[in-house]
Structures are given as structure tokens and as C-alpha cells.
């Protein structure tokens, strides 16, 4: 329960819950489906798979994305792979194990019923994708290949070289294209959702800006689904695509949708360090590099500027191997990231100085090359090495790579019940936009799985159930529509007419990113978070007072688009810090300095904090609602990687 709001989680044996729930859901007969209109915002894995499926079932679907084509959604960039409990390798994998790993990986901050359903559906996703022609890697025998990913002890990850996200998204995009051609889906590219339209407490439409003409229009429907991705870009620099934003979910939040676990943001250890303060985004280097590369930093600060090849073995600190002898360079993402940060905070970082600190450590392949030969390394990592060289200009076969952690994924998102409906009736959220399955930390190769489970298999059923139970009248003339339009226009107007225009939207975004990274990043502490809340409030005032947007709103204006997104990130950033302050424990990605053991391990507090923090916006402040989690099937244990 979330307060008095049920989560609609079924009860009984875990294995039967989703089946039982499916049977209990109401259906809509095929001949009645065309009477229902559904809005799907977003065309990433979650949105595209949902639009394709709903269109095929016979509903009228309107879909939206801000890029110039649905195929360019951020999901396209996922590299590593997608998990599924097929147990093709006969290495002891099962739906239960995937469920177990996901709950444990999430540090016991996710719902058991949801996670089990995800693990169950994972196998259907692979079948679906293969039938669509997704070219997964295969063995010589013709069977699908698998690998172990992100420290998993079983090989359950399916992949298409380093472009799994691209291939899965093209599969979903093509399925959606089939429906566009048939007329079931009408799609709107270069369109940004600005507002949600609510009538009698139910979501009934959205306000959209056509990013080419600047025209603002209202779209109404029987319900709305947001598949608009994560908010990692609140930090300004992240591995997300530049356009990723939180506006759709944040606008919904402002109108009553609770935002869950906003401070749960994942930081990935192996990214290419920032080269300068003008950098616009960070690039992820696959985690697989840690299988053969050794991470080190100089023991002495004075060696940090030396050519690494002249630094002798005895002068190097292979700190992950030293601190975590059992897992060494393969410790989970959050632990590796924090260790790297600590080294750099001690002043032992290498590479470019950013805000007065060198932020990088070495990832060295010299030993692996000596052991396996350059050819073997080239075969395994050739494309990654090439990418690194292209970006940095350094040759990693000769010189150790430099890496530094970067924001990568957001586990938090709109609160949803078991039907993936938010606290606004008729407003659903899927994919990274919801908070549902990853708890305080997401396992590698699980986001693609979740997006597609939501879009292909869960939402089509739960949305139908909602439609079957409700009555809908035409609202095109309702005052809520004109109010939504004028809210959107007023806001655009305010963005373009600040009293003392002085700084571009990016200026504010960079400032926000810096505050969040320092206080709500890899390690968090009370005093800094409090300070950050204050700074963000000031930043918000400064923003509305002096943001400078040039150009006009009746044409393409990327400065205006950014301004709107930054305004939302500022408010969300505030809530992220408030949430991190509330959670007086460490769990998963959330490391509160006050709650780390001497050895630096996260100290969870299940007694007081085994809840999903779910925030409501009211009068510029936030009210916390707790959904207490109970673990019937897996006893919470303490992670220990030493």
C-alpha cells in the first residue's frame, strides 16, 4: 500500500501471481478496441514496443517523440546486452535466479512481485525479438550465444555485438512502423510534451509543442502512457543522449503523479574522463573491459603527472585488488565507482584537471597484452579501443586508458502500482520513466529487458483493464484542455522573457550538474545535501530571473527547448537532494557517508528504510509517502564483496 492507495500486487505463490492477475484483468473485445484512443509518449524500447502492440491489438494509438524519427530514441545507445532467464548454457540459471539476483542487486528496495514478473517475461522478449529479425550473436551451430555480464555468475546476457540497444530498438521501431502503415498508430516526431491534461482526476491528454513550427496543440485520449526515459541528464554530464530529459515525468509529477526514489541514480565506473569544462557529454566504455584491464593510481601524489609507463610496479596502487581481493577489478558498479572517487579525492587522480581536481585513474591492459598477446586483446576489445582512441587521441595498446565514473541510469522515476499506473488515474509509466523494478541499483543488461517487458507484455494488458472499467466522454471542449494550453504558453513566455536575461540555459544546467554531482553523486552527506538544497533553490530563482533565450518560439529553437528542460531538472534536482537527505541509510547506489562501515561498505537500515519513498509536490514543497516493502520470498542479506 502507498498510504491508502493499493499497489494491486497479487498475493499467493510468486510463480502464479502474474498469471492470476492476467486472468483477473478485464478485457476489451476486439471489435470495441478501435473506439479507444491511447497516447504513448516516447518511442524508446518501452514506447515503441507498446505502440506496436497496442496498434496491432486494434486500438487507436498516438505516439510522440522529440527526435526527428522514433528510431533515434536513447535506447539506441545501449551497448552491452539484454538479460533473459533462458538457461541455454545450463549453468544453473532460472527465472527464480534472475529474480533473486535483481532483488539482491537492487539492495532490497524493489517489490518482489514486480521483479518476479520481469524475470518471467524476460524469456518471451528474446523469442519476440528473434522472430522480428533482431540479429543476436550466434554460435557456429546456429544457436543463440550468451555471455556473462556485469559480474553475473551465469551467462544469461543476449547481445548483438556492442549494439544490442540499437538492434532491439530497430526491431520495435519496425514493428511500430508496420502499425503506422496500417493506420493503427499515428506518430508525431519532433514533438515535445509540455503538459498533462487532467479531467476529473483522470489523465485525458497532453499538450505538445511542434518543435519545427513551434505550434502548441492539445491531444486528447482515454489514457496516457509515459515512456519518456530517465533523468540522468539532471547532472548535465552523463552517458545519456543529449536530449534525454525529465520534462514529461516532471510535468506529470507537478500535476499529482508521485515521484519515487528520485535519489537512486546509477553511476558507472568505466567512462572516459572529462577532458575539459566545456564538454557536453560523457561516453561509456563497456564494463567488459574490467575483465582484463587492471585499475590503478599512483601511490604518491607527486607521480600523478608522470608518464604512466615510467611509473614502476612498486609505485602503483592497484586499489581495487588491494581493497577487495576476492572480486578485485570486478566489484559491482557502485563499489568500483566510489573507490575511484576516493582515490581522486585524495589527490591521486590523473589526467585533465576539472574544477581543480584530476578526475581519472588508469585502466591498464599491459599485463593482459603480455599474457594473451596484442592480437587477442584486439579481437576482444578492438572496437572499444578504437572508440577510446578516437575520443581521446591516445592509443590504449601503448598507454593505459584513463577512466572515471559517470552518471548512467536512474532507478527512480514515477511511482507506479503493479499495473504500472501512476497515482494519477489513467496515467501509466513504462521503461526507465517508472521506478519499478531495480530498487536502489540496477544490474547490467536489465534496463532493456524491463523496457520491453513493460511495452510488449505488461502495459497492453493493464491499460486494457483500465479502459474496460471506465467510461469516457468527449473532452475536446472541456476547460481543462484550454487551461493546459494556456499553462504551456505562459511557461514558454516566461522562459523567453526573464526580467534580466543574462545567461544561456546551459549555464544553469552546468551549475545544477556541478551541485548534484558534488552532493548527490557517488557519496552523500547531510551537511552537503542541505547546502545543495539551498543552492538549488537560489539557482531556481536566478534561472527564472535571468535565463536568456534568443530566437523566436514560432520556429525551431533548441535554446528554448533546453530552457524548458533545465527548468524541470532544477526542480527535480531539488527533490533528489531532499530524498537523499531523508534516507538515513546507505543502500545500493545511495551511499550516505554517515552510514558506511569503516571498510566503506553500505550499511542498510531495513528496520526504518525498507520503503519506496514516494514524493508528492505541494506548494513548492514535497510530501513523503512511504510504500513499505515486505520480503516474503528472499530474506534481506548484507552485500559483502571483500
Amino acid at each position: 500500500m502507498l498510504g491508502s492507495r493499493p499497489t494491486f500486487e497479487p498475493t499467493g505463490p510468486l510463480q502464479d501471481r502474474w498469471k492470476k492477475h492476467l486472468f483477473d484483468l478485464s478485457l476489451i473485445a476486439p471489435q470495441n478496441r478501435a473506439k479507444h484512443k491511447i497516447i504513448v509518449v516516447g518511442t524508446g524500447l518501452a514506447g515503441a514496443s507498446l505502440s506496436a502492440t497496442l496498434g496491432e491489438m486494434g486500438y487507436q494509438v498516438s505516439s510522440f517523440c522529440f527526435q526527428d524519427s522514433p528510431r533515434r530514441a536513447h535506447s539506441i545507445a545501449a551497448q552491452g546486452g539484454i538479460n533473459a532467464a533462458k538457461n541455454y548454457r545450463n549453468d544453473g540459471d532460472s527465472v527464480w535466479r534472475l529474480f533473486y539476483d535483481t532483488i539482491k542487486g537492487g539492495d532490497f528496495r524493489a517489490r518482489e512481485s514486480n521483479v518476479y514478473r520481469l524475470a518471467e517475461l524476460s524469456v518471451n522478449i528474446i523469442d519476440q525479438a528473434v522472430a522480428q529479425g533482431v540479429p543476436f550473436a550466434r554460435e557456429y551451430s546456429g544457436y543463440l550465444a550468451n555471455r556473462s555480464f556485469g559480474g553475473a555468475q551465469v551467462s544469461r546476457t543476449f547481445y548483438a555485438r556492442g549494439q544490442t540497444g540499437q538492434q532491439l530498438l530497430l526491431g520495435a521501431y519496425q514493428a511500430m512502423s508496420t502499425q503506422i502503415a496500417k493506420g493503427g498508430v499515428s506518430h508525431h516526431s519532433r514533438s515535445e510534451m509540455l503538459e498533462i491534461i487532467k479531467v476529473d482526476g483522470r489523465a485525458r491528454g497532453i499538450v505538445v509543442r511542434d518543435l519545427v513550427s513551434g505550434k502548441i496543440s492539445a491531444h486528447t485520449a482515454d489514457c496516457v502512457v509515459l515512456c519518456t526515459g530517465g533523468y540522468g541528464n539532471a547532472f548535465y554530464l552523463s552517458t545519456n543522449a543529449k536530449g534525454c530529459n525529465a520534462s514529461a515525468t516532471w510535468r506529470a509529477h507537478k500535476h499529482g503523479a508521485y515521484f519515487a526514489n528520485p535519489s537512486f541514480t546509477q553511476i558507472h565506473p568505466t567512462c572516459i574522463p572529462q577532458s575539459g569544462e566545456a564538454q557536453s557529454k560523457l561516453t561509456l566504455m563497456s564494463e567488459s573491459l574490467r575483465n582484463d584491464g587492471r585499475i590503478w593510481a599512483p601511490k604518491n601524489i607527486k607521480d600523478c603527472e608522470r608518464d604512466p609507463s615510467t611509473i614502476k610496479e612498486g609505485e602503483r596502487d592497484y586499489f581495487l585488488e588491494r581493497l577487495y581481493p576476492a572480486f578485485a577489478n570486478l566489484v559491482p558498479r557502485d563499489i568500483a565507482s566510489r573507490a575511484v572517487k576516493n582515490i581522486c579525492d585524495e589527490g591521486r587522480g590523473v589526467g585533465a584537471k576539472i574544477h581543480g581536481q584530476c578526475r581519472g585513474v588508469y585502466l591498464d591492459f599491459a599485463d593482459a597484452i603480455k599474457r594473451l598477446g596484442e592480437r587477442a586483446i584486439r579481437e576482444k576489445y578492438g572496437n572499444l579501443f578504437e572508440m577510446y582512441q578516437r575520443i581521446t587521441g591516445d592509443n590504449p595498446y601503448r598507454m593505459p586508458m584513463k577512466i572515471y565514473p559517470a552518471v548512467h541510469y536512474t532507478m527512480g522515476g514515477l511511482w507506479v502500482d503493479y499495473n504500472l499506473m501512476t497515482t494519477i488515474d489513467g496515467l501509466f509509466a513504462g521503461g526507465e520513466a517508472n521506478f519499478s523494478d531495480h530498487g536502489a541499483n540496477r544490474l547490467g543488461a536489465s534496463a532493456l529487458m524491463q523496457g520491453l517487458a513493460d511495452g510488449y507484455f505488461i502495459l497492453p494488458q493493464t491499460v486494457a483493464n483500465y479502459l474496460a472499467k471506465e467510461e469516457f466522454d468527449n473532452i475536446d471542449k472541456h476547460s481543462a484542455v484550454s487551461e493546459g494550453l494556456s499553462r504551456a504558453k505562459q511557461r514558454l513566455n516566461a522562459l523567453q522573457n526573464a526580467p534580466k536575461p543574462k545567461h544561456s540555459p546551459d549555464y544553469f544546467h552546468q551549475k545544477l550538474g556541478f551541485i548534484l554531482w558534488e552532493s548527490c553523486g557517488m557519496s552523500r552527506e547531510k551537511a552537503k545535501l542541505r547546502q545543495a538544497v539551498k543552492e538549488i533553490k537560489d539557482l531556481k530563482n536566478e534561472f527564472w530571473h535571468s535565463v536568456k533565450v534568443t530566437g523566436i518560439d514560432k520556429e525551431m529553437n533548441q535554446t528554448l527547448e533546453r530552457a524548458g528542460r533545465v527548468a524541470d531538472f532544477i526542480e527535480l534536482g531539488h527533490l533528489m537532494c531532499v530524498d537523499a537527505l531523508d534516507r538515513e541509510e546507505s543502500c545500493g547506489c545511495h551511499a550516505r557517508v554517515e552510514h558506511l562501515s569503516k571498510a566503506g561498505e553500505a550499511q542498510r537500515n531495513d528496520e526504518d528504510y525498507a520503503y519506496v519513498s514516494s514524493w508528492e509536490s505541494q506548494d513548492g514543497g514535497f510530501i513523503l509517502h512511504k510504500e513499505f516493502l515486505s520480503f516474503e520470498f528472499i530474506q534481506p542479506t548484507i552485500r559483502n564483496y571483500r
Binding site: 523469442d127 514493428a175 546551459d506 529553437n557
Partner: protein
Amino acid sequence: MNFILHIWRQENPQDAGGFKTYTLDNVAADSSFLEMLDQLNEQLIQAGETAIVFDYDCREGICGACSLVINGYVHGKQQRTTTCQLYMREYADEKELWIEPWRASAFPVVQDLTVDRTAFDRIIQAGGFVEVSTGSAPEANTLLVDKHSADEAFNSATCIGCGACVAVCPNASASLFVAAKVGHLSYLPQGAITAKDRALKMTRAMFKEGFGVCSNHRHCQTQCPKSISVSNIALMNKLLSWS
């Protein structure tokens, strides 16, 4: 580094458009090409001018959004590279840069450096898919695919739909784009059943959108950031001659 930049500015599809010249100083060698444009835009905003519009999203060479012609080269002079993956150190020897949008009548300029590539979406809608209802798929490993075909399919499937092949083609043909999808799906048993039909429908859609016919220059293959091979076009032609 300091640059003189000649950048195509065009208010809308009807406007004739033209180059406008800007100077930009203190560009870091480690900046990406798009970061250099960001820097220019910041300068323009400071000066109260309208920022230059250009497409981008992932900035790591996979989404296919970025699309600039630099000094006459589609995606810049480096091969196997999208515009967003270019770094300014590659331009250390240059002082002046001419930056333009893709040029093809089927890709009308929307504004400044952005073009309308929705024709590509419509070509896919015409047949670039395998139709399979959600939930009806058989167990994945009941369908075996020999590794060679799977690899070939993958190579063709890496097309990012950026449109560089059209922009570089003297005939503004979209043959490489179409053939990449035709190739991807017909190498696989799932897509082979409808291969001829797909090739025909997609080719028709391509002509309907106003793209030209392949004229065998093969610039597309050279300039494709994903090195999609023209052998896909041969395969497509074979399918077309059968249908």
C-alpha cells in the same frame, strides 16, 4: 585553436538560405565538432543572436541524428565516422570551415543545418519489417541461423539511418539505406519469406519519395559511417529482378 566558420543559415524550407561567417576563438583540440558548434551558439546567445539549429542526440555515433557536410565532406573528411565523433584536433591544420546541411530534394532543409528525413521512416513503413504479432513468437532457439548469415545480417543492420549515403550520392539515391534493410532481413530465415516483396515495396517507396536511382558511384559505401557494403545493393537488385 581559432576558426573562421561559414555556416549555412536558412530560416525555413522556403527561404533561399546562404552562408554566414562567424569567428570562433579558443576552441580546445579535445572538443568534439558539435561541442565547437555549442561553443559558437553560446557566443551567439551572449550576443543576443539566434543560435544555429543542428540535429544531434546520442553524440556517440549510433543514433544517426547528426548530419553535417564539412568542407564538402559528408560527416567530415574522416571515414567510418559520424559528425559527432569528429574531434577538433583533426582540424588543427585548417583555419576556415564550411558547414552545410545534407543536400537532397527528398531531404528538404527544415532550418539552418537540419533536414527533414521522414522519407526514411516512410520507406521502412512500406515494408522494412518482419510482421509478427506480439506474443506469437516461437521459442527462440527453434529457429537456427548459421553464424555467417547472422553476421551478414548484423553487418547490414548496423545502418543508423543518418542519410549520409543520400547526401554524398550524385543522384541522391537512397539505395544503400534501402538495401541495408533489405539485406539485413533477407539474410535471416525470419525475413527471407517476404524478401522479394519487401525489396519491391521499399524501392517503390524510395522513388515515390523523390530519391534517385543508384548510379554506381559507390561514394555511399566510402562515406557510410557504418561501412555498409554496396553488396547489399547487388543483393537487392537480384531480389528485384526476380520479383
